[in-house]
């Protein structure tokens, strides 16, 4: 059972690089875990820490302005690469609740929705504004499907209808699938 998600209000953290892949979000050597918890410490590990494990001061998440931010603004094609669900787990465990870009990779998007991390795709102009105004206080509202900028401009976004319904109501998809068992059994008989 997931918690319902309706509205996120937060300052933004900006990572403008395009094609940020899941190997950057969480490097492979941390995938040997057998639970979901605690991955936030390793989020962006190779960009965040030096060889000795000390935080690199110039990396955005190590700067005071990033503390408590729940919305990540990222360059185009965020989350490409491997199917590791550890990527949204790490982002959520760190404290992020939404990622905004102009393009979000398929598997990452689907993994995010299943864990309550909102993958939001906006138009170039909005994205450009968000990239050049780091730390802006914005609202991401899943009920109205809109991102509201501090300028008052509200920008619509789309989330796949069923995933949205599940997120708003805290329903998990496995429960829905389990209820289809008769239809599944019929399909199995037809194709035996």
């Amino acid at each position: 059972m997931q918690q319902a998600i309706r509205k996120i209000q937060s300052r933004t953290v900006v990572m403008p690089s395009t094609n940020i892949d899941t190997d950057q979000i969480i490097p492979a050597r941390f995938l040997t875990t057998t639970t979901k918890e605690g991955l936030g410490k390793q989020l962006f590990a190779d960009w965040r820490y030096d060889a000795g494990g000390a935080p690199k001061p110039d990396f955005i998440l190590n700067q005071p302005a990033a503390a408590g931010c729940q919305v990540l603004i990222a360059g185009r094609n965020f989350g490409c690469g491997s199917s590791r669900e550890h990527a949204p787990w790490a982002l959520l465990d760190y404290g992020f609740k939404a990622v905004i870009s102009t393009e979000i990779a398929d598997i990452f998007r689907s993994n995010s929705l299943k864990n309550g991390l909102l993958p939001i795709v906006v138009d170039e102009a909005t994205h450009g504004w968000l990239l050049s105004n780091p730390g802006s206080e914005i609202t991401v509202d899943l009920e109205t499907n809109a991102v509201t900028l501090p300028t008052g401009v509200a920008v619509k976004f789309e989330v796949e209808a069923f995933a949205r319904f599940c997120l708003l109501n805290g329903i998990d998809e496995l429960g829905y699938l389990l209820k289809q068992s008769e239809a599944i059994a019929r399909h199995e008989q037809r194709h035996a």
């Binding site: 950057q24 490097p27 875990t33 990779a105 389990l178 239809a183």
Partner: protein, 487 residues
């Protein structure tokens, strides 16, 4: 062919694409505006990295695996390739990896899942053993918690990677909730020139459509150059579909496909085989079927390719130079990581590591190609060459054919099967700052180890680099006579 002319409006309904045929045969419940389709999964491949949390979910909910006969597990990602570790003569060095291996053993035992475990002679990289065992078949839906599941599309299956939550869904219900993706045809006309491989072809395709160019699409690779490919080569092409952002890649099954599958352990046998082939022959895109997007390509134009950056779309012909792109921060960041500058020629660049293996290029024909270059030659001083078969079966075949001896005589390391240096989680690592010429599929920052600099190539190009210790045009070694020195 029906030669009569119909008016547009009165004409027959447009034909279906290969993808549409497979999709529609697996819709348990079709999609609506409000709900995604419930899609039936014929084959679920499981490995140690993306499954533990899914089995935990089943335990927590008191659920069983719905179809054990459609579920097959193996170990590859965090599994070591050193025979002493694999066969338990010494403990697995990466301790967290050892835990994960034990966890899959326990989960497979508790839930009754067939596991090709550490000591199985059929174990291997998950995308290599599916086809090898004959479990991968045309028209099937195939999933695995791994993005390179697209590999199996080479057989005309609809195969794609899923996350761990979805692994749990498939274990419990044999189904997934899916929206129907769009379709893209990549039409490759002509023939690949001598010395140019399927790996070069897919790198060139990714270079053209870009690492996000396929997002939201299932690609069907078509055309004379694709039809001429062997199954191993088709798998190499489909494998990297995800590197263009596409979830799946497919090739229509044909005589090449059927010949490959016939007689394999899990393939249909006897009269069932004939019925299956009759069914499979219908799995072609109908004339007149529409794709959402069509990308034409000319195989004649393709050269051996090499990546220079930190994603597979940053790729050039091996005879080329690193592109110059002013005012491009992403390009600059990638080049800084790679220690390269715009305008620099790649041929002649000293390298330290060579890796031949992975689900992209760890099959027998890949090893044969590498061996044809390495035969009677030596790995250059100061170069570490690691050659890792994609499965234990390939390992045995390569040893029987004398390939392993060619490699070890040349001074390369020969290992047990696994993902190995494709990703830095099993102990096979490239050191910081080293250049690794690799037949794997991802050159992301840190993929082969912290600070590792990966240059993606074909097995021929990798083997040529091993000999010279530099980035080398493989045609210099494959050509019947040595080529004239470049002016």
């Amino acid at each position: 062919m029906n030669a009569s002319t119909h008016s547009q409006a009165a004409g027959p309904a447009a034909g279906k694409t290969l993808f549409e045929k497979v999709w529609e045969q697996h819709e348990v419940v079709p999609e609506t505006v409000d709900t995604p389709a419930v899609l039936y999964i014929d084959l679920h491949l499981v490995h140690e990295v993306t499954s533990p949390q899914a089995f935990s979910l089943l335990r927590a909910e008191g659920l069983k695996v719905r179809r054990l006969d459609r579920t097959l597990a193996t170990m590859d990602h965090s599994t070591p390739t050193d025979p002493d570790e694999v066969f338990g003569r010494i403990p697995i060095k990466v301790e967290s990896a050892a835990r994960q291996v034990r966890e899959l053993e326990k989960n497979a035992r508790d839930f009754g899942v067939e596991l090709l475990g550490l000591d199985s002679d059929q174990r291997g990289i998950v995308h290599i053993i599916g086809p090898e065992q004959g479990a991968t078949q045309p028209g099937k839906t195939i999933v695995c918690g791994d993005s390179h599941t697209a590999t199996h599309g080479a057989f005309g299956a609809l195969a794609f990677g899923i996350g761990t939550t979805e692994v749990g869904h498939v274990l419990a219900t044999q189904c997934l909730l899916q929206r129907r993706p769009k379709t893209m045809a990549v039409e490759v006309g002509g023939r690949l020139p001598a010395g140019v491989t399927a790996k070069d072809l897919i790198l060139a395709i990714i270079g053209k459509i870009g690492v996000g160019g396929g997002t939201g699409y299932v690609i069907e690779y078509r055309g004379s150059a694709i039809e001429a490919l062997s199954m191993d080569e088709r798998m190499t092409v489909c494998n990297m579909s995800i590197e263009a952002g596409a979830r799946a890649g497919m090739v229509a099954p044909d005589a090449t496909t059927f010949t490959y599958l016939k007689g394999r352990r899990m393939a249909p046998q006897g009269a069932e085989w004939d019925r299956a082939v009759a069914r499979w022959q219908r799995l072609r895109t109908d004339p007149g079927a529409r794709f959402d997007k069509v990308v034409p390509f000319d195989a004649h134009m393709i050269e051996p390719m090499i990546t220079y950056g930190t994603n597979p779309g940053m790729v050039v012909p091996i005879t080329g130079s690193v592109p110059v792109r002013d005012n491009d921060a992403v390009h600059a960041k990638a080049l800084a990581y790679m220690g390269l500058s715009g305008g620099e020629r790649l041929i002649g660049k000293p390298i330290q590591v060579v890796f031949v293996g992975s689900c992209t290029n760890g099959r027998l024909s890949d090893l044969q190609l590498a061996a044809s270059v390495l035969q009677g030659r030596k790995v250059a001083k100061g170069v570490r060459a690691l050659i890792v078969p994609g499965s234990q079966q390939i390992k045995r075949e390569a040893e029987a054919l004398g390939l392993a001896k060619i490699f070890t005589d040349a001074g390369a390391e020969w290992r047990e099967s696994g993902c190995s240096m494709c990703l830095g989680m099993n102990g096979d690592l490239v050191d910081k700052g080293q250049y690794s010429v690799s037949t794997s599929n991802r050159n992301f920052e840190g993929r082969q180890g912290i600070g590792a600099r990966t240059l993606l190539v074909s097995p021929a190009t990798a083997a040529a680099a091993a000999i010279t210790g530099r980035v080398t045009d493989p045609r210099d070694f494959l050509a019947p006579s040595p080529s004239v020195v470049n002016a």
